[in-house]
C-alpha cells in the first residue's frame, strides 16, 4: 500500500526554469492538496482539488499551476522558477470529512532549491 507518492525527492532549479512535481495516491481519495513549508514555518496551502477536473487556489497560489485529470494524480507545475519558491513541497490526500477517515495522508515531500 503505497499511500501518497511524490517525485522527485530533491531538485535544484535555475531561475526561470520550469518543472513539474508529481503526486499520485492509490487510496481513491477525492481530495488532494499541495502545501509548501518554508524553513521554521508551518505548511501553507498552494492549491487543492476536491475531485477530478476540479481545482481551486489556496493561500499562496502565485507562480504555480495544477491540473487533476484523474483521481490518482495531482501534479504541481512551476512555470518560471524564482528564489522565493525555494521550499519543501508536500502533497496530501484525504476523504471528505464525514466519509471515512478524515485525516490527511502526506507524501514524503520534495525539497526544491532555486538558484
Amino acid at each position: 500500500n503505497a499511500g501518497v507518492t511524490q517525485t522527485p525527492k530533491f531538485r535544484i532549479l535555475k531561475i526561470g526554469q520550469s518543472m513539474t512535481l508529481q503526486c499520485t495516491q492509490d487510496m481513491n481519495h477525492n481530495y488532494m492538496y499541495w502545501y509548501r513549508q518554508d524553513p521554521g514555518m508551518g505548511l501553507k496551502l498552494i492549491y487543492y482539488s476536491v475531485g477530478a477536473g476540479i481545482t481551486d487556489k489556496g493561500e499562496v497560489p502565485n507562480g504555480y499551476n495544477v491540473s487533476r485529470s484523474t483521481t490518482e494524480d495531482f501534479p504541481l507545475r512551476l512555470e518560471l522558477a524564482a528564489p522565493s519558491q525555494t521550499s519543501v513541497y508536500f502533497c496530501a490526500s484525504s476523504y471528505p470529512p464525514g466519509q471515512g477517515y478524515y485525516g490527511y495522508t502526506f507524501g514524503s515531500g520534495t525539497r526544491l532549491t532555486v538558484v
Binding site: 481551486d56 489556496g58 496530501a92 471528505p96 470529512p97
Partner: protein, 117 residues
Amino acid sequence: AQTVTQSQPEMSVQEAETVTLSCTYDTSESDYYLFWYKQPPSRQMILVIRQEAYKQQNATENRFSVNFQKAAKSFSLKISDSQLGDAAMYFCAYRSLPNFGNEKLTFGTGTRLTIIP
C-alpha cells in the same frame, strides 16, 4: 478565516517526563476537526492524534493525549513518558467541515520538541 497559534517555538523535556505543547485557534465555526502532527527530521508528516469538536471527551492515543477546551479555543497536546523518538516538530492543525471554498487544513507554525537523555 481560521488561524492556529502555537506560542512555544521550542520546548525541551527530560526523557521519561511529561510535556505539554500549547495550541490555540480562532474560528467562528461550531463544528470542526483538530489534529496534532509530528514531523521528525525525516520530514514525513505523521498524524499523532485527532479530535472532533462535537466530542467533549478528550482524545487519547497511548502516551499522547489532548486537553480540548472548546470555549477557550484551546487544544494542547500532552506527551507522557517522553522518549527519544518523540523529538520532532509538532504542528497543530484545524480542518473545517465540507464547504467548497473553505476546504483546507490550517497549520500553526510548530513547536520543536527536544528530548534530553
